[in-house]
């Protein structure tokens, strides 16, 4: 069986750092947000600190991976995402990636406003907490679809290997990405 290179090491690191950060923030965020979980867990000051510094850590880690990694490759991928036509990725994957990138920035902006707003009324707006919550529901919806296609759906779940080991089967790649010319696996 022949394999082709699907994701570079930088891309995979970026993906898993993003995933780890997202789950940490989702878990701590839900504890802060859902009354039943708040009661069950308690320790709100600690959870709040983990959530706030976790958010800073999440964005910083993503920036660091790009800075220390294959910057040119990331830029090339970003340029590819700008055009909503099938190429190395299909349109659904591109929309998912673009929305997640925008959501991450919006999470950061609204999160910082909530954080600073607690100390300084200049940063306090009645809509911030609402926008932060709606972002969570939107991101969660994308995540459910993403997990289904990457882990459960038989036709597409081979793609997970691309994100763990970096390579996928050549015939699978041809079938799913006919307009992509994959580089061979080394």
């Amino acid at each position: 069986m022949r394999f082709v290179r699907r994701f570079t090491r930088t891309e995979r690191t970026l993906h898993w750092v993003n995933a780890a950060g997202f789950f940490l923030l989702l878990a701590t965020g839900l504890i802060l947000y859902l009354p039943r979980l708040s009661v069950l867990v308690g320790r709100r000051p600690l959870i709040k600190d983990v959530h706030l510094w976790g958010g800073i850590g999440w964005i910083s880690a993503l920036a660091l991976v790009v800075l220390l990694g294959d910057r040119r490759g990331v830029l090339r991928t970003a340029r590819d995402l700008e055009v909503l036509e099938p190429s190395r990725f299909n349109v659904g994957q591109k929309v998912n990636a673009l929305l997640n990138a925008a959501f991450a920035l919006l999470f950061l902006v609204t999160g910082l406003l909530l954080w600073f707003g607690e100390r300084d009324t200049t940063f306090r707006f009645t809509s911030t907490v609402l926008v932060h919550d709606i972002l969570m529901y939107a991101a969660l919806t994308l995540l459910v679809g993403h997990l289904y296609l990457a882990v459960i759906h038989p036709a597409t779940r081979h793609s997970l290997r691309g994100m763990t080991r970096g390579t996928v089967r050549e015939d699978w790649a041809r079938r799913h990405y006919p307009r992509w010319t994959p580089p061979p696996a080394d």
Partner: protein, 226 residues
């Protein structure tokens, strides 16, 4: 021009999402409130989703209510110090009110049914000295406390509430007793209330030490409606 280059709809989508998200900090709440009626049914279908309430606490554990040992202490500048048990508190003449609850972070819960005791019932029994001009409300969730001036505490819908929406106050809402003052933001409404000290003047409460306004009038404090 770039006639031959492919259209960058992806970039458009990214920037539009970003633009919509950032500007919604200005228009999100009014638009949401418009459609809220339609969404109320959906919310009820998802049992986990909070129905308007968010639970804030400042200590590691929310206080637990022990009916046998719980007391509401009335102390400070009073002629008669009190230590009311839960039974004694429930035996006092009760009042009922339906009021809106506003949080300083922007959310509101409409038409909350409260049942509890008016402060006048407490004053009748404790008889504050004339030099008492403020009340210090102390939570079992230390170090949370807050103050009202005597004048503020005499607004007609200020209440020591032990029931919310027809049921005894739940733990996350401050069981067994919380202060309710609908004219002010929720941080003034001390939860897990177990001590009221009559003092010469108001001081800074938990959030006020961190920069919130002492007089937390809804719509006219903390940077709103300035």
């Amino acid at each position: 021009m770039e006639n031959s280059s492919p259209k960058k709809y992806g970039r458009g989508l990214f920037l539009a999402t970003l633009f919509g998200g950032v500007t919604s900090i200005a228009w999100g709440r009014p638009v949401w409130n418009r459609f809220n009626g339609a969404l109320a049914g959906v919310e009820a279908l998802v049992p986990l989703v909070p129905h308007g309430w968010r639970i804030y606490s400042v200590a590691d554990m929310m206080p637990t209510f022990e009916p046998a040992t719980w007391r509401l202490a009335i102390d400070g500048l009073v002629q008669q110090k009190l230590a009311l048990s839960y039974e004694e508190l429930r035996a006092l003449p009760s009042a009922h009110q339906v009021t809106d609850f506003h949080c300083v972070t922007g959310w509101t819960v409409r038409n909350v049914h409260w049942k509890g005791v008016r402060l006048s019932e407490i004053f009748d029994r404790a008889r504050p000295f004339p030099e008492a001009h403020a009340l210090q409300f102390v939570s079992a969730e230390l170090p949370y406390l807050d103050y009202l001036t005597l004048q503020q505490s005499q607004l007609k819908d200020v209440m020591l509430a032990y029931e919310m929406d027809g049921k005894p106050l739940t733990r996350e809402h401050g069981a067994p007793l919380r202060l309710v003052i609908p004219e002010m933001y929720g941080y003034k409404g001390v939860k897990w209330l177990n001590r009221i000290n009559l003092v010469p003047q108001a001081g800074d409460g938990y959030w006020e030490v961190l920069g919130y306004d002492r007089d937390a009038w809804v719509g006219h404090s903390n940077g709103y409606g300035a």
